[in-house]
Symmetry: C2
Subunit: 300 residues, 2 copies
């Protein structure tokens, strides 16, 4: 018997995106269900061609632990619900005031601010409902997933905390320590949690979970460094969101603190460290390794 040919990363990602979108479509109420406007707004923001990097991380992390993490895409989808809620709220006029997201007008531009606020609230709420209703795992595992998601999304070292620091941070006071703490929390916490959700779902040992967490931290930082670099370099059409906003809003970014060249080196260092964190895993973790490379090489 010859080993079956391995799908390219591109095909792997495309397949997973399809699976995740299918799951999201099942969990989010149809647009025909009342009140229709909120379900339309939730779906508008959710099905806008996102890369689904967080759920894919969860699935790939589960696959690194076990061949048979059946149904992991349901737990994985909750990360996209939380990510999308955070985008909707971050884009509001009172926060980043963004008109463009994933290549389309932002949620509040289309549905108004009131519905956008409530659509974000609803996606966050739904993420926990989904975790309470997933199958194939024990109640104890589900509760660990609830705690993981809630902490990663919270104020102390979590996504909301990072968002507050980001809002309140001013370029003139930028220090490497502040930059690090903002991004570890703002994007890092949910990316780390994404990998951990998959590992917990698949029944990882504490040692495996620890390794997956370190992997998640490194790719989280790499992801944010690249995001900051792309905001400077890529055109809005490629990003699907307004480019150059960081500069315009005097945000604390890696290029602003370290310069472009050093920022690129740092992203590469994080990529290498992410690979090192996976040393204990066999080739079942190869997708996680490829995703680390992909995150650093991406152009949008």
């Amino acid at each position: 018997m010859t080993k079956p040919e391995r799908a390219s990363l591109q095909d792997y990602l495309a397949e997973r995106v399809q699976a995740i979108d299918g799951v999201l479509d099942r969990w989010v109420p149809e647009e025909s269900i009342e009140p229709a406007s909120i379900h339309k707004a939730m779906r508008y923001s959710l099905f806008a061609g996102g890369k689904r990097i967080r759920p894919i991380l969860a699935i790939a992390a589960a696959d690194s632990i076990s061949d048979a993490a059946s149904g992991v895409e349901h737990a994985a989808a909750t990360l996209e619900l939380v990510h999308t809620y955070s985008l909707i709220h971050d884009d509001l006029p009172a926060l980043d005031n963004d008109d463009l997201r994933r290549g389309r007008p932002t949620c509040h531009k289309v549905f108004g601010e009131a519905i956008a606020i409530l659509a974000g609230d609803a996606l966050l709420t739904l993420s926990f409902e989904v975790l309470s209703r997933i199958e194939h795992v024990s109640a104890a595992q589900k509760i660990r997933l609830v705690e993981e998601l809630a902490r990663a999304g919270g104020t102390v070292g979590g996504m909301i905390g990072g968002q507050v620091n980001d809002l309140e941070g001013e370029r003139k006071n930028a220090t490497p320590a502040l930059l690090d703490s903002i991004h570890r929390a703002k994007t890092g916490a949910l990316l780390r949690a994404s990998a951990r959700v998959g590992a917990i779902y698949a029944g990882a040992s504490e040692e495996q979970l620890e390794a997956i967490s370190r992997y998640g931290e490194h790719i989280g930082l790499a992801f944010q460094i690249i995001d900051d670099i792309l905001d400077v370099q890529a055109p809005s059409e490629a990003l699907g969101k307004t480019a150059g906003k960081d500069e315009a809003q005097q945000k604390i970014t890696f290029p602003a603190v370290y310069g472009l060249e050093r920022s690129r080196e740092m992203a590469e260092e994080e990529r290498v460290a992410a690979h090192a964190a996976l040393r204990m895993f066999d080739d079942r973790a190869d997708r996680l390794r490829e995703i680390a490379d992909f995150i650093v090489q991406r152009k949008t």
Copy 2:
């Protein structure tokens, strides 16, 4: 031995408020923890002298089932976290645009809209973290509580759904059916869930849970009818929020649809039905009975 003297409802409520506030104080990060502004905002809105009716309902429901529902105040407190998040978001300029809440300037008036939005998000997120970390109950019960809270707070028959209908409803199209559906969802779902959370925590049988749910529905409706009446009748100082807003905003209310007199009769009917729902319970449910009376008789 003589039976120990039973505390008055007023003393019972005051004691429970103190216990709940103590628990909330333990779960919500201190104001000194970074980022400080978000924790200040969360605490500002949470510790503003709320009546804690939802957590008290949960505790009283648990007490109706079992004498020994140790630690129920932690699960109960999550209802106040969710309730407070909903008040902060509802008060935002894009929604009800309220300046006064619980007798003080609203969260966004003090901390700005961005922090108010994030403080609401954070309270909602924290409610699920708390449920994942409570003690004394099984993981299976915790997961049921997560599902209960998420559904009650959600879009389909839940709090957000009711809020959307309320925002989009216009007085001129007010029908009894629309009024009923708005309030069953907007305030009713969380009040019903409050009673259910306590019952689930205390290990209620399905039959007991069903009875408690019906009780919760009736007092939920009674609560909203009285709220609508008070908005017409009570001065702002007594309510701690802007009176007469419903009229000004052309909200669909019970007095607007049925008139004041019929509204008062309806509240009384709901009170009686709440008592009837508790028929299977012994005198351990007396506090629930008294709370039903209190809800209809309250003046603020």
